[in-house]
Symmetry: C2
Subunit: 294 residues, 2 copies
């Protein structure tokens, strides 16, 4: 990297949280020659050592405040529950033009954290959500190409400078992602619908199986439909508790809509209305088969 | 095939319904040299021609009554809704020792059809369910090896002769399947739980998405979790309407248990009980991650 275009390159990148999301961002930028030095911050020494061994990061630190000194780009890629504390720690040490962005999967609550902890820095704050979920975690899960063809949503604050948004956008595009902007409210409604609620429905279904007296026989005969339907039920409890509570309002509205749908299905099966049941299933089936083909 | 062991071979196999289930059974037995002649019966001439072209069957017929003459093994592999009519058509023409089995995914209703239409032949009737679902259908979907490592459930009637059960079991084992026996009631409870109800939950969820005013934006941002959770929502409306109604009692009991679970989840999210929510998700997550590893 001989000359740096600050719009599409980073001099000192700090990852607060050195796992799949942050590590894969660093790797993609390294491969593209767009980052000089990556600092990984985390509490797990073994994970940081692994990140160093794999060249995901160039140096490691347990101290966020120290790590961000001289940084021009900070990606907060921890569970949302840790973000407020980290923002508070780094606030006094940020260079005035240092970008702060994040990878949190909920946005209204993260926006509130930016407002609370980085009120003097909001022009450079760009809340974000790279959509690249995986059951995997830790630095060892980081991979080149994770963001190729994926989507990243940015939910800028009214105060966010447009050049800050443009820089974060450009860097995600270097990683191969498509970048979208929307409000935090719109983001949270959409992801309650297509991600958070399906997880909670899958947890609920799995618990309903476990409550059966013949649960063990049921699990013995469960096949590919069950496998796919319940894959997300294997997700991490702490992470999904945090998401469920962080996006509570949108999730509750959607869970209640699902409870109404379920009541409707029970009514259709109970009454045995052939045509209405066929239409109901047909609407879902057509939409699912048409999905992703637009 | 020089000499025939009638326990593990078939002279004249009749497939009533020439699609994935029946066709794959025929192909597996052909490869093993365990069937002399396969007759495919169906209403769709194009599909039968395809089955002939692919050597899934050796001759084709539109007439079930004619086809079963001289047969020693009949596999009814149509949607359950067509089985009663077919049983009635073949009843007067069956040789006394001809096995009749089926591939229906519900069993109490099929048992009732055997009793209604084949009351003189129950000793040779072996209700069955090969568990090898797929979104694919038609003779062109038939494949060698479909049943390798899969499970087949048999739900014999009290009247069924044990040598008839043993013969059906042996032939499925030739196809590479593991064979289990249980009552029709137990079968239907288990498959309501692990297959039928997940389908209905997936249809309901998909309809809840479609009912949103921002459904299109939601579908745009849906990712891999959504993809897997909703795969079964793309299933065939007529087939799943039939299953929902055929196994109505077991399904309703299980749907109502799921409605209670959903109410419980809504309560946990609403009250924000961190530990209870973590435990609830953790129970589901551990069970899902342990599944299939026993």
């Amino acid at each position: 990297m001989t000359s740096i275009n600050p719009m599409t390159s980073i001099n000192r990148l700090v990852l607060l949280g050195t796992g799949l999301i942050g590590g894969s961002f660093a790797l993609a930028l390294k491969r593209a020659g767009r980052v000089r030095h990556v600092v990984g911050v985390g509490r797990n020494a073994q994970n940081l050592q692994r990140a160093l061994d794999l060249n995901v990061i160039d140096s490691a630190s347990h101290d966020a405040a120290e790590a961000v000194q001289g940084a021009d780009f900070v990606l907060i890629a921890t569970p949302v529950g840790q973000m407020g504390r980290l923002m508070g720690e780094i606030a006094p040490h940020l260079a005035s033009d240092c970008i702060v962005t994040d990878g949190g999967s909920t946005k209204r609550d993260v926006v509130a954290l930016y407002r609370e902890h980085l009120s003097q820095h909001l022009g450079q704050c760009v809340p974000g959500h790279p959509i690249a979920g995986s059951e995997l975690s830790g630095a060892a899960a980081a991979q080149y190409g994770l963001y190729e063809g994926r989507r990243v949503v940015l939910t800028p604050l009214p105060e966010t400078r447009s050049d800050a948004v443009a820089r974060v956008r450009a860097l995600w595009e270097v990683c191969g992602a498509s970048v979208y902007e929307m409000s935090a409210e719109e983001h949270d409604g959409i992801f309650a619908c297509v991600s958070h609620v399906p997880h909670l429905l899958a947890f609920a279904y799995m618990n309903s199986v476990l409550d059966r007296s013949n649960a063990s026989a049921c699990l013995d005969f469960a096949a590919t439909g069950f496998r796919d339907f319940t894959r997300i039920a294997g997700s991490h409890p702490d992470m999904w508790r945090d998401i469920a509570l962080a996006n509570r309002d949108a999730i509750l509205a959607d869970l209640k809509a699902n409870a109404e749908q379920l009541k409707h299905v029970i009514g259709l099966v109970e009454s045995g209305e052939m045509d209405a049941l066929t239409d109901y299933i047909g609407r879902a089936s057509r939409a699912r088969n048409g999905w992703g083909k637009r």
